[in-house]
Amino acid sequence: MKFDWFVLPFLSGLSFVTVYTSVKFYRWINKLSRGEKALLKKYIFSRSIWTSIKEIFSESLFHLKIFKTHPLLGYMHASLAFGWFLLIVLGNIEVKFYSEYSINPPYVPIFLNFFEPTTAPNFFGRGFRFIMDFLLLIILSGVALAFFKRFVPSKFGMKQNMRHRWFDRIAIFSLWFIFPARLVAESLSASIYHNGSFLTNTLGKMMSFLPAETLLYPSWWAYSIILGIFFFALPFSRYMHIPTEVLLILMRNAGIRSRYFSHPYQEVETEACSRCGICIDSCQLTSIGYAIQPSYYLRTIRYNELHREITDNCLLCGRCVEACPVGIFSTDIRRHERTLQHEMRTVKFKFNQNKFSNTYTEVLYFAGCMTHLTPGIKKAMTTILEHSGYSWQILDEDENICCGRPLLLAGQISAANQVIIHTRTQIEKTRAKILVTSCPICYKTFKENYRLNMLIMHHSQFIDHLYTHNRIATQYRNVNVKYHDPCELGRGANIYVEPRRVIEQIANLLPSSSEKNKAPCCGGSLGNTMLQAEEKKLIAKRALSEMNLTSADLLVTACPLCLKTFSAVSSVSVKDLSQLVAENICEKIPNNAQKIHKAVETL
């Protein structure tokens, strides 16, 4: 068997990583509940495992999502990950041409030019040397880009870099130096044995003035030592994401989710974060100077640092989750941690009873507390409901009842559950067919936390429904409208189409570069309990400039909180979708509407 003492740093590093990762993986999987383990097991032996394998290739290696964020950034990540991967795989195949053994120690392909200095004199021998040189060149270009990215992140579509700790820097530098070290060692080898290809041979010739024979052996040592440093640093640095992401993809596709703070899935997510910093750009708190983005947040969790202010200082808008190339549900982690911090198990609410209606109507309208603070929306909805031909009533006319979401976002689960039970009872008493709410926050809560036996609609969906059933008609106005997707309605509840269809009935809807899942948060989010009023205002202003309203006459949104926040700072007038409809509603319903008047039965 081939061996030389210089492989020891590499070999010990590799063994360490393998053992460490295996133990870690075993512990994580062991910590899952029995049901979750069964889920994972069932998944791994099912046919859908192929989707995960595909995802591991496309995301862990090829970084397709990052390519979509920015092609150059994608290339940088892919050249390093996919390039290195191919180097290892092809290296292992190449060895087969030289070795009499069918199984070789892992260091042989890595240091092949040392162990097999003469190129196999055939097409495959030269071909492989060429491919290996080519891959090394690709990786080196990735390293060069990574180096330049430190100085000019803007060329990579990023506003700023992640600020790394010293330990991560060691890992980064060792990674960067691996490939130049390999290049030097192979070039020196080529200058003596001419065993390289276009890259190493050329460089070898250029280095012919050097005493190659004396330098060659130390250069192999250097290459091995740098690899060793990287492998020893890997489990404690950001590069732990390399093995962990594979496990994360498997667990996520198996349907496992984090259910509480420090859940094993969350621990996997934490270590699967590569701190690439893409979330930093997507976050609206970055520009006002807070380093609270998932990259930073997950780092504090991983290294057990104090981070209470980071946990609470988040709009929970979900833009980072959309942007994350690894698919980490960081907003869930925050909510779980808030639950841990703020839960008050002793609170007992007293509710005002008997003030709610028991009468039956087809439609039950729940304005929500934020709508009460923007009475324009409530008034508009009243007009629309009057025209709809449905019998209707407002559930929270006099008494404020709450959907419970503000308490949920603050992590006060048992208090929220009391409110939810109370409100659900009031809603069920009316036996309505459709529950309409103006507030996306309430909508999401009714959908997810209430298990109601009726149709739940946000008013954008309800108005869209009224149009499709010819229950209302509006006049067309020649105004240019931009639509702002509220976080909870868009990213939160996936409602993008209906509000746009409604606007197109009335006005000219302009496209926007930051809309749908990329839409900015207005800044008024109930999810953030740390920001000052002035800071929220700044976020709102910047959100408006991000949406670029220069050609718009009107900004339309579909959330009372967004309306309120934007109205305070916008120079363009801001309206809720319902207001736009109510202002342009026709008094008479077109004749054919009568026929379809019984559309509610079809629901």
Binding site: P375, E397, A533, A568
Partner: protein, 339 residues
């Protein structure tokens, strides 16, 4: 003869201009509208003694007659400085050169639309204190938009003042006593009406204010509640339903009224910030102009030859504004005579 520009023809500007003309300077008033008197012009009676507002405005106008040049419908577009001279480019295209400038741009009323939860411009019977003044043009009972006699009315203090959420931390100073004055005027017209004032604190800072406050309670039975309004909604009969908190009892409160009056506060005037930037005068966190210091140099700005008077440097009552204007005139006089 030195030329002086007074920017803004409200009561502060008129008083400064008159005093400076008395000191035999050549004075121009640059006024963006076509009338003099600013906000006071729109007011009926003044606290604390119910002096008719037009008396004050008329008196100031008479003093100015033939002594001061008034450039109506004009605004300052650009300003330049050459040694001690100030060059102003006006919106009518002319360029004027002055030796000193007095800024009396005053204030604007808080736009109540920004507190949408109070229902202004959503519900017709939610009005501002300034709009209520129009009801006082005659002695007829106060009626709602549906011509019902007002039986119950609520005054809401601190709308747009002392409210971090709308970005105004400052106190507008005069709304407390204005509310007491207006409540009494309503009580005189609608003797049977129930009148509620919902205040944060009552700041009766000047002479006779406490007396008026006492009179409002004892003589007119006006009810003062320390409380904050959370939201207004409209009932089917177009009466207004208020949800409030009694902050002394710490309990929620509900009330149905016919009319809601929002005591809108003062904010720095529309173009004051641009003007301050153009003339190089710092503004405070509240956007009002900052004099060199607020005790002994409250009319002097950091920029030589530029002075400030009246509400441009923060909320003031009419008496304070006039005194401030006279003091500014004297500052201008000493500045020009020492040069």
């Amino acid at each position: 003869m030195p030329r002086i520009a007074v920017i803004g023809g409200g009561v502060a500007g008129m008083e400064v201009a008159f005093r400076l003309s008395q000191l035999s300077f050549e004075v121009d008033i640059i006024e963006k509208s076509f009338i003099l008197g600013g906000h006071v012009h729109k007011w009926q009676k003044l606290f604390p003694d119910f002096t008719p507002a037009h008396q004050i405005v008329d008196q100031l106008k008479n003093q100015l007659r033939d002594k001061v040049n008034i450039l109506f419908g004009n605004e300052v577009i650009k300003a330049e400085q050459e040694n001690t001279k100030h060059i102003l480019y006006l919106s009518d295209g002319t360029t004027q050169v002055y030796d000193a400038i007095v800024i009396t741009t005053g204030f604007k009323l808080f736009n109540a639309n920004r507190k949408e939860e109070y229902g202004y411009s959503v519900y017709p019977n939610v009005i501002t204190s300034s709009e209520l003044e129009e009801y006082f043009q005659n002695d007829k009972p106060i009626i709602t938009k549906e011509n019902r006699i007002v039986e119950r009315i609520a005054f809401i203090h601190c709308v747009g003042s002392r409210d971090e959420k709308v970005g105004n931390r400052h106190c507008s100073k005069v709304c407390c006593i204005t509310a007491v004055k207006q409540a009494i005027e309503v009580a005189q017209r609608n003797p049977d009406a129930e009148i509620y004032l919902f205040y944060m604190d009552l700041r009766m800072f000047d002479r006779k204010f406490e007396d008026l406050y006492l009179q409002a309670q004892t003589e007119y039975g006006i009810k003062f509640v320390r409380g904050r309004l959370s939201e207004v909604s409209e009932k089917a009969d177009s009466r207004l339903f208020l949800k409030l908190e009694d902050t002394l009892l710490g309990k929620p409160l509900r009330l149905t009224v016919d009319l809601v009056v929002l005591m809108v506060g003062m904010e720095t005037a529309e173009n004051s910030i641009q003007l301050a930037n153009a003339l190089g005068i710092p503004v405070g966190q509240d956007n009002f102009m900052l004099p060199v210091n607020c005790h002994s140099q409250k009319n002097i700005t950091g920029n030589r030859g530029i002075f400030v008077a009246g509400c441009a440097s923060g909320p003031k009552s009419i008496g304070e504004t006039l005194a401030d204007a006279r003091s500014a005139a004297l500052e201008v006089y000493s500045y020009l005579n020492c040069n």
